[in-house]
Every structure is written in C-alpha cells, then in structure tokens.
Amino acid sequence: MNESVLATVVAILAAAIRLATPYLYASIGEMFAQRSGVLNLGVDGIMLVGAFAAFYGTLMTGSLWVGVVVAVLAGLAMGMLMSVISVTLKAEQGISGIGLSLFGLGLSSLLFKTLVGTVKTVDGFRPIRVPVLSDVPYLGDIFFSQSLPVYVAFLLVPVSWYVLERTPWGLRVRAVGQNPAAADTLGVNVDLTRYLCVCLGAMLAGLAGASLSIALVNLFQENLTAGAGYIAVALVYFGGWRPVGILLGALLFSTVTAIQLRMQVLGIQIPSDFAVMLPYVLTIVALTFSANRARQPAALNQPFERGGA
C-alpha cells in the first residue's frame, strides 16, 4: 500500500469523524427523548434554530462560547414547546414533531433574513491538535486533530451511556419509557421525566446545529441542515437506543458519505446521484443484515395518562 492511498484513507476517516459530529449530538439527544417514550420528529427544526442561534450569537459578540450558550438556550426553548405539546397536552408525537420541524425551519430562516440578511461567515472552532497524541502516525490525524465540538461529541457517548444505564435517574428514564404506568405507581414523576428528557434532547439538538454553523461550515444559510435532523432520528433506530449503537450508525453513515465524495474526486466512474445514494442504501442494508436488533422502548410514541392506557 503506497503513501497516497494511505493518505486518502486517513483523510476519509478524519472527514468521517468530523461529519459524524452533528449526528452524534442530535441522535444521542433524541435517544434520551425516545428512551423516556417520546418520539421527537422535530429534531431538524431544533437543529436549525440552534444553528442560527449559535451563528448569530457568535457573529454579534465574536465569542464562540456565547454562540454555544445561545444555541443551547434556543434548543431548550424548542424543547419546552415540544414538551408542552407532546407531554402535557399528550398530542400525537409524530405529528407534533413535524409541526415543530416546520416551525423551526420557518423561524430560523425568518430570523436570518431579518437580522442578518445575507450570507456571512464567522470564525468557528479551530482544530486543536492534542499534544503527544496528535503526533501518533495516522491515528493522530484521524482522531486528535479535530475541533473541540468533535471531541465533546465523542465524549458524550460514554457519558450518556453511564447516565442512562448506571444512574438512578437513567433507571427512571428507562422505566418511564418501558412502562410509565408502573413507574408512576412507584412514585416516578412520568411527565417531569419526559420533560427533562425531551429538553435535554433538544439542547443537544441545539448543539448539533451549533456544531454545523460554528464548527463545520462556519456560516448560516436557510435550511442549513438539509434534512440532517431526520437522519439523526433514523440513526437512533439504527443504534437500537444505545449510545454505542448510535456511534456506529453515525460513523457508518458519515464514513460512506466521506468515501462517496472522494470517489468522485478520484474520478471513479459512477453517476454522482448513485454515489450520493450510497450512505442511505448502506445504512438500510447494514441494519437489515445485522442480527442485533434491539426492541424499542415499549411506551415509545404513547402519551401517558394516569389511569388511562
């Protein structure tokens, strides 16, 4: 294997890690919501609002941290809206999510048009070379020369696993998603737990948007996500509601995306449309042929009503 092939492989893997970042934030957030029994299809809209908030906060103050905070708050506000509709008012979750997506798309475009007006760029998060580790041949370039939001996203995988599987709160979340009536009789506040999970998910979706607008592309444009939020929801199913599964799904999807873009650069002769299709096709195929399919939380997509159901 010669140097240039290796360099290409390194570039593909580094790109895959980078591209997986927004999906990781959004999917892990959605995982919390779903584990508590709420299907939030509004992730795309929340990401857009978060992306705009981060971009605008950074543009106005010059501080990326302000951008991050504003994105999280914007995500929280959207999460509250979703919670009120789907938890308190017990609305059909899939449709609430579609409404939320539409609202987020409209709101972020509207704010962009009235407050910014034209495409501008910001100085986003720069790659940080981790001392020592980044000097490891190949691996250093793939894993340890990324920007801060990338590292945080990957740290989220073990952290969210720990929270969900090893803390009392995580146990409550799972109980609420599995059997809310039983959890309720045991004294767990079902609605509160769902509120927390949906809002946590929405804040992470806000961060997912920020990781696009102030780390990956460093600008905002109408419909910046181009449907990434829906992919993020799909990856939760792919990952079987487990952080590691989501990580694998996000990496599979982003790696194939990175490969197909480079296939075109290398001039491999297949129509570009089919190249673009590849990540979607392979995600379905991979799940179809993997034996390991988890069962979804039993109460997913079911509004909880005390004494009902």
Partner: protein
C-alpha cells in the same frame, strides 16, 4: 366514533366559518386603504400599456424566483438588477418591485404569476426555467401584461413574452483559463450541486478553459446531489483540498460551504459564478463571473414603455456586457493570468473562441 366524528365536523365547520368570516372581513377591506393597491391597480391594467403617458406613471414589476433574494447566486442576481433599475428610475415612487421567493413549487409559482398579472403589473418576471409552461398559459390570458422568463430562449411565439438566458459557459471558460495559470499543484477541484442547468454549462465551460490552457492539469468534479446542502459542499471542497487541489470553483447557493473550506485551508483560491462572492472570502476569491441582468432589463423596460410587450430573446454574454468578470482587487492576481483572462474575454467577444455549452 365520537371523537372522529367531532374532528370531521371540525373540518367541515371550519370550512363554513372560514367562508363566513371571509365575506365578513372582505367587506370592510375593500373600503379600506388596505386593498386599493389591488382594486386600483386592476384599472390601469385594462388601459393599454402603450399609452404615451406611460413614462410618467409608476412602472410596476413583480418577480417570482425559486430561491431566496439572499442566495448569493441565481435569485439574488435578478433581484439586485431590479433594485439597480429602481434606483435608476428614481426610487420606489417611480418603480415598484414586488417579489415572491422560494417558489420551488411550480403550481404555487403559477398562482403567483397569475395573481401578479391580474393586479396589473407592467412586467411579471418568472425567474426559473421550470415556470415556462405556466408563463405560456397565463400570458395568453393577459395580453396587456408583459412577461419575462428564463433561463430559456423560447417566447412561445407570443407577443407579450420575453425570454432570457445566460451563456454561463463563457465566463466559465475565462475562469478556467485563469485558473489553469493560477494553480501550482496542477490540480483543480469543482464542487457542483446537480449536473444540470447553468451549473453544468458553467462547469463545462470552465473545464474547456482549463484544457485549452494547460492540458496537463487535472480537473476533478464532485456533485453533492443537492442545491442546498452546505455541509456536503464543505466536505466536497475539503476532499479536493486534501487531494492536492489549490484552486476551486463551483456553482449553486450551497458553494458558500466550499468557499468556507477554501478559507479554512488558507492557501486555496476560489473562482465564483452567478454573483460576486468576494464578500465571503475577501482575499481568496480570484474572480467571479457576474450575471448582470440590467443589460436585459434596460432594453426590456424601454421596449415595454414604448409599447412592445414581448417577442424578444436575450442572452447574457460577455459581448453584450451581461456577463462580467469581476476581478477581486483584494487578491493579487499575476499579470500573466490577468492578461490571459482579458484575452479570453476578448477572444470570446470577437468570436475567435467559441465555447460550447
């Protein structure tokens, strides 16, 4: 089932309520200053547009476009041209612009075209080739309104339709010639959306320009499959950069992502098209092919005011000034490359070089 019945009743009832409240809100509205713009404007439309007092009257233009006025690309180029015409005409008092953006849905666009036409606008511009069928149908119903549409070359044989297009391959060729002289790595990357329309013709022209200047240069292309996926554009550009490309170009509103990637890399330069993209990377944009629709609009508006409502076809070319190469003063372009660019412009203008779309 109880609830379902009530929901159905809700839908039915809302129909009735909407119908009632409609007539209710309409009655006062017509007497208020709110709708005179519509009420009054239908009157002049029936009056012949070629009346001599036309020059003194306000000229009214409606623009329907597929993306946003801020896309730094196709839609913005036309919107800006109209704003320029407005300034030339002396501001809003003499020249009214109304627009409808993001009309990717063709039936919606047709409804908009018909609506504007019925409001008696002097000129209705359907800025998208997909709107052609609608223009053909609607223009017949409004013989006193002038329609313009593009990009295409077909006026359907109607006396009140203008068509316009852009020879994007010409500027692409000029950009390609300069790019071939600017690149040191002899590798050039192209990031496009979908291989159609002026994205395709621009990039084909660009490739010809590079090949005519230095056939040893490798031009590789990526198509992201989307006009709006900025993240994919960014990654496509990064792929080119890691493969060694030091010059990039591309088309569509999502190229802002490619420009961002070039900016991050630092030593990679950019050639733009459709709009002047200097604002995004003041030191890295070498030159942009700019669509200047005022060339078309000047002539079209003058003709409409003198009573000719259509029948002509316009093509933006380097020759007629509709296509301009906007050099970026913030980028230090070598004298050779500039000279080669100017020569390419001269050759295309004189017809010594023809670029096939």
């Amino acid at each position: 089932m109880k609830l379902r019945t009530s929901l159905m009743a809700a839908a039915a009832l809302s129909l009735i309520v909407v119908a009632c409240s409609n007539s209710a809100t309409q009655a006062p509205a017509t007497s208020q200053p709110a709708s005179p713009s519509e009420a009054a404007s239908t009157a002049p439309s029936t009056a012949p547009a070629e009346s001599p007092s036309q020059a003194a009257k306000k000229f009214r233009v409606a623009l329907i476009m597929p993306s946003a006025t801020t896309d730094l690309a196709f839609s913005q180029s036309m919107y800006q041209a109209l704003v320029a015409e407005q300034q030339k005409a002396g501001g809003e008092g003499n020249f009214e612009i109304k627009f409808t953006e993001n009309m990717f849905n063709v039936p919606d666009a047709q409804a908009a075209i018909r609506d504007y036409a019925s409001q008696g606008f002097d000129l209705v511009i359907a800025h998208g080739s997909q709107y052609g069928a609608g223009v053909e149908e609607i223009a017949k119903d409004f013989p006193a309104v002038s329609f313009a549409w593009g990009t295409d070359v077909n006026t359907f044989g109607l006396p009140n339709v203008y068509a316009y297009t852009a020879a994007a391959q010409e500027g692409g060729y000029v950009n390609g010639v300069m790019a071939a002289l600017v690149t040191k790595s002899k590798k050039i990357g192209v990031t496009g959306p979908v291989e159609v329309g002026d994205a395709k013709t621009y990039i084909d022209g660009f490739t010809q320009g590079v090949a005519a200047t230095d056939s040893s240069i490798k031009v590789s292309k990526t198509w992201t499959g989307s006009f709006s996926d900025v993240a994919a554009m960014t990654e496509a550009a990064k792929a080119h950069i890691t493969a060694g490309a030091d010059v990039l170009t591309g088309s569509s509103q999502s190229v802002v992502g490619s420009i961002g990637a070039a900016k991050d890399a630092g030593n990679v330069v950019w050639f733009g098209t459709q709009s002047d993209q200097v604002s995004l990377a003041p030191t890295l944009v070498v030159a942009s092919q700019v669509y200047d629709w005022t060339v078309v609009l000047d002539d079209m508006i003058a003709k409409i005011q003198s009573g000719t409502l259509g029948g002509d076809t316009y093509t933006l070319q380097l020759k007629n000034g509709g296509l301009k190469i906007a050099y970026n003063s913030g980028y230090n372009l070598s004298a050779d490359a500039k000279a080669a660019g100017d020569k390419a412009i001269a050759d295309i203008t004189s017809g010594a070089v023809t670029v096939s779309p």
